[in-house]
């Protein structure tokens, strides 16, 4: 079971310019200004490396909040 706070911290690390406080569990991540196709790639690698979960671009498309992504690993 992955700690929720650690998950959030890991997700925040995928962004270079966004204020971490702007990213919470209820955040609609696709609305973040920095969100790009490169963030999608980073997210896929992050899930694979840290949670051994193979995230597909469709998973990311269909999810909307950070919490939705968390549910994919628990």
């Amino acid at each position: 079971m992955v700690d929720k706070d650690l998950f959030l911290a890991g997700f925040r690390d995928l962004f270079d310019e966004t204020d971490p406080q702007e990213i919470q569990f209820e955040t609609q991540y696709k609305d973040l200004e920095e969100w790009s196709s490169l963030t999608v790639l980073s997210l896929i690698v992050h899930f694979e490396d840290n949670y051994k979960v193979k995230l597909s671009p469709v998973n990311i498309q269909e999810s909307s909040t950070v919490d939705d992504l968390y549910k994919l690993i628990v």
Binding site: D16, K30, E33, W35, S36, S37, L38, V40, L41, S42, I44, V45, E48, S56, P57, I60
Partner: protein
Amino acid sequence: MIKAYIKCIEYYLPADVLDNTQISVDFPDWSVDKISAKTGIYERHIADKEEFTSDMAVTVSKKLFENNNINRADVDFILLCTQSPDYILPTTACIVQDRLGMNKTVGALDFNLGCSGYVYGLALAKGLIAARIARNILLITSETYTKFIHKGDKSNRTIFGDGASATIISTDGICEIGDFDLGTDGAGAQNLIIKNGGARNPLREEKETIDEYGNVLNPSYLYMNGPEIFSFTSSAVPSLIDNVLFKNVLKLETIDLYVFHQANQFMLNHLRKKIGIDESKFYLFLKECGNTVSSTIPIALKNAMIDNRINKGTNVLIAGFGVGYSWGGTVLRF
């Protein structure tokens, strides 16, 4: 069986350059540093408005003949890899035969592949030699993708550049071409595509849309679903490398240099780590030309030779993967 060798390689990049400063002027949310850090690309070369695939193919072939003392009369086959031919028909390789003043006895054909094209070209050339159909093959890769990229498509403008390469494959040379592993999965066809311009969808004016990342989409221009392509390579390439090693009776550590299709630095680093290749054995050549599709492998090979990263006795594993989906790999024994 007659063995097949690469004899020499040359490449050509068009004169016009699109650098990161210009891209960040066009897309202010993309800083110069961010572009170079994420993609590993600093500049791309763009074919002139009046410069086409056959022009680059002729230029690079002349360079190959001159720099390597190749008598063009000895060439008996032309293989030309392109997805941006001058015309739908005739075959660009035929135009190139005439413009280079080559023998009318040569065989010539185009084949339509992208990032896997150079590996497939070597496989076809090896087959022609083994079957005694030809003895000296001119393999050309030439691509003007930028003519198909919409000015408002930030992602593709950042990644792709134009370029061409020419290689002679013969019964002797600098490296023996090993055994191949090839693969295809047309289920991914829609993820890297130019929809209009073929018989199914003739070129026409269509409404443009903007994708969720801010790229302008127009079905008459190149479309790439980056995340899907990334996902595909992440699954396909590790097993491709396993298979190439197995077929050539080699191990990961007995390869001296890995030269992959230079898609972008982010993807390459991911693949390298996933496969477990030591960074010192993984060749990158992206900075000055970006992703030139089927020319990235020969461009990188040429530069690795100039940099003395390839010497006599070096085993080089090359791997190409992308549009189709299509992939392939082999080992070059120098």
